[in-house]
């Protein structure tokens, strides 16, 4: 499954953040997943510890935040909630809509353990 590929991409990105901020390790990682991103949160949650073994985020808590599906109607401009396979406007029923939320796969934030000297400098 491609959730392993996604977990590896996540680890690479968090690794970049750890290096950039000269941190010791990541303790908490927050990822925002929309249902339309094509990634199953449970599978990503299972793949992450396997892929993270031996890295500086091995013991990090992975927070997977579910994003709701919201669409904006191009006809009536309403912003309404939608479901995976019915992305139509809930106000007027038109299918000419744009996704506002629900297809994202974002690394939102990372909590880092830094050295005391670095923290006191902030």
């Amino acid at each position: 499954m491609h959730e392993l590929a996604v977990a590896q991409a996540l680890i690479e990105q968090v690794g970049d953040v750890i290096r950039q901020h000269r941190a010791q390790r990541a303790t908490r990682i927050r990822v925002r997943i929309g249902p339309l991103a094509g990634v199953v949160p449970e599978l990503l949650g299972n793949a992450f510890p396997l892929a993270a073994t031996g890295s500086r985020m091995e013991h990090a808590v992975l927070d997977l935040v579910a994003a709701p599906i919201t669409v904006r109607c191009e006809t009536c401009d309403a912003e309404t909630e939608a479901t995976m396979n019915r992305l139509v406007c809930a106000a007027c029923g038109d299918w000419h809509t744009r996704i506002i939320s629900g297809d994202e796969l974002l690394l939102e934030s990372v909590e880092l353990e830094t050295t005391p000297s670095l923290t006191s400098g902030l």
Binding site: H2, A9, Q13, Q20, L87, L107, E111, L112, L122
Partner: protein
């Protein structure tokens, strides 16, 4: 802005991002697409295509929906008009590339082994092993799979999603991520419609519209040469559009790239 990791820090939100959570620790706000590295590679691949004026298409479907058969019929029909090339993605075997080469068309086979989708890095490796000089259209046949290929941008300009009439007309409702990514949906093997009375092409199209997807829907049979003209006309039209874009230094990303990511960033 933190250049190395690309996080969205500005002087305005810096105090939020670096809010200390506990002594000796820091919370960093990143707001970056998880597949950003793949997407960067895909952007680079697109530059390869645009520099040469090539139109690149990504063909996706379930296993056996008729991607290679469609390519065979298409390449034969276009052989005096355009130079085409093909990248084949399969879990195992060179069979599909052999079928294409039998028509005298350049084909590079990517054997993915266990990976059930192509990604931008695999396609880039293939590009550097091919001769792209004089190529007008590059077809990338993705691994037969209705799930993950939709999540990985390869650098193509357009996604073509095939649905054969043997699969059921509610596939777009069952695999919304895949069908939302289609720039064109092809209903294939229509010669079998006569014996399959439960596939309603209009219903398949209605399911696609429910995904807010305006993509054209074309019905065809590659084996019986039915409905091929509309598909070939669409290809010619898209190649002309690509050439016009290239002339103006523009490009096009497929529907696969959620423009939502941009929106979320702006509103985050």
């Amino acid at each position: 802005m933190c250049d190395t990791c690309g996080c969205n820090l500005t002087p305005g939100n810096r105090h939020l991002a670096f809010k200390p959570v506990a002594p000796g620790s820091t919370a960093v706000s990143v707001l970056k697409n998880l597949l950003a590295k793949n997407d960067d590679q895909a952007t680079h691949n697109r530059e390869h295509f645009d520099r040469r004026g090539i139109l690149a298409l990504n063909l996706m479907s379930s296993p056996g929906s008729g991607k290679t058969a469609l390519l065979e019929a298409t390449l034969a029909a276009l052989k005096d008009e355009f130079t085409c090339a093909v990248i084949e993605g399969d879990l195992e075997t060179e069979n599909d590339a052999l079928r294409i080469r039998a028509l005298g068309v350049q084909a590079h086979q990517i054997v993915t082994g266990t990976a059930c989708h192509l990604d931008a890095h695999l396609v880039h490796d293939a590009l550097h092993r091919m001769n792209l000089d004089g190529v007008d259209i590059l077809f990338i046949e993705n691994v037969g799979n209705l799930v993950c290929p939709a999540s990985f941008d390869l650098g193509q300009h357009l996604n073509v999603t095939l649905l054969s009439v043997t699969e059921g007309d509610d596939k777009p409702a069952k695999y919304p991520v895949m069908f939302r990514a289609a720039d064109a949906m092809l209903l294939t093997k229509t010669d079998l419609l006569a014996v399959l009375d439960d596939f309603d092409p209009d219903k398949a199209e209605a399911h696609l519209r429910n995904l807010a997807n305006p993509a054209p829907v074309m019905r065809l049979s590659a084996r019986r040469a039915l409905g091929m003209d509309a598909w070939l006309a669409w290809l010619r039209n898209e190649l002309a559009a690509q050439r016009a874009r290239v002339k103006h230094g523009q490009t096009r990303r497929p529907a696969i790239q959620p423009d939502g990511a941009q929106l979320h960033r702006a509103t985050a």
